[in-house]
Symmetry: C2
Subunit: 248 residues, 2 copies
């Protein structure tokens, strides 16, 4: 789903309250209307928009009452900075996703995250909670409440740590972009130049790839690359790629 459309949907207090309510339990229109203190007509309109976006679904029970519930899990990340405004939305990734392929990231002590897709998830019970180091000896029987609770607590911890790490990365990205832009001096276009240089350092080798990556018109990117080549910040690398000059 387009993240702009998702922001439009979430940019309404009553729709957010409906989602919060439905996340607790499936509800029918009258319940939602009473809970929100909003007319059934307005609730139906919000539900229709949420349904069209695929966020909410309904089913009808034996008394022919129509219940609404959350249809899918969804995640949205928005970053606002001097260097860009970005919004991306995504569905949760499959549990078989192989996180061991990450270059910079290692995840420990959480079932499933360490082994990739080989299905061995007996790692719960790791000392997650400070001051409680003896919570081990759990089995991985799917019906075992104690080990499921441990796993849930661990995943919630990991979620918090990932958020913290991302906040750290945002701060570092802003600092490094500032440093790079300051070093490059380009009459108000330093930000773009910095993105171009970073993309080249990351292996992008054509104007098309750079244009996609930095989200600017091709002629602007072409001019920036020409200028950076002239200033010896970039140098040709092979047939038609470039690299960042080592002494730059």
């Amino acid at each position: 789903m387009d993240s702009g459309a998702l922001l439009d949907l979430l940019g309404n207090e009553n729709r957010r309250r409906i989602l919060r309510l439905l996340a607790r339990k499936p509800c029918y229109v009258t319940e939602i209307s009473e809970y929100l203190g909003v007319s059934p007509k307005a609730v139906i309109d919000h539900l229709r928009r949420l349904e069209e976006a695929g966020l909410v679904e309904s089913r009808t029970d034996e008394k022919r009452r129509k219940y609404f519930h959350i249809a899918r899990n969804l995640r949205l990340e928005v970053t606002v900075s001097r260097h860009g405004f970005g919004a991306k939305s995504a569905y949760p990734a499959s549990r078989d996703l192989d996180l061991t392929r990450c270059h910079h990231l290692t995840i420990d002590g959480v079932a499933d995250a360490t082994g990739g897709a080989d299905g061995d998830d007996a790692e719960s019970g790791d000392a997650t909670d400070p001051g409680d180091g003896d919570a081990s000896e759990t089995s991985d029987d799917p019906g075992d409440i104690a080990s499921l609770a441990d796993e849930l607590a661990e995943l919630e911890d990991l979620e918090r740590e990932l958020s913290l790490a991302q906040r750290w990365v945002q701060g570092r990205l802003a600092d490094v972009r500032d440093d790079l832009a300051e070093t490059l001096e380009a009459d108000g276009h330093e930000g773009l130049y910095a993105e171009v240089v970073a993309a080249v350092a990351d292996g992008e080798g054509s104007i098309e790839a750079l244009t996609r990556r930095v989200d600017a018109p091709a002629e602007v990117v072409e001019h920036a690359v020409g200028d950076l080549l002239e200033r010896d910040v970039l140098e040709p690398d092979g047939d038609d790629g470039w690299r960042v000059t080592d002494s730059a």
Copy 2:
């Protein structure tokens, strides 16, 4: 800043376009108005709301023209799932944040992330880009374009990996919450029961703490705890805390 207020602000296509434009370069009202194809009056109104929220600031140049620019870096995460609707916003964390304190997360090959606050950031140049293993020998002179570009490319990689890991965690959280709720059977309140059990497993030891954590009225949480104690899912632990019964 309150994430609801932030979602209200971002839930408008023209305000998002203004932020995207200002992230590229500072602009004055006429420029923004022409770029958006929207009246100066409407632009001024959007800018006022963005200014009030602290997202945008202005300064006046020598020709007394008022330029607007992005005031601060900000990050917003929204999660919609059958188990909850959550939105949190945060400013980027300080570069001195000690990520080595994370229990589940290890970050490698990115300057600053590994050493905590001791200021040794000479780790750029790690082989980030697949197929380019010889990008080392960079110095950490702040003005060194090549090493700044490497560091930026690495941070962007790490950002992508963290997003991927978070999507994986969201998927696993939903699965484990489903499993736990299914095992607990509680007449439509399984979701709440699962959260209570997970919070107890994570060390929460009072009704007040649980109430905050699961965001439900105290009497509802108290009833759930009573029921779970009766069913031997929880057992008393010390003076007034509980733990998840091992055999549960």
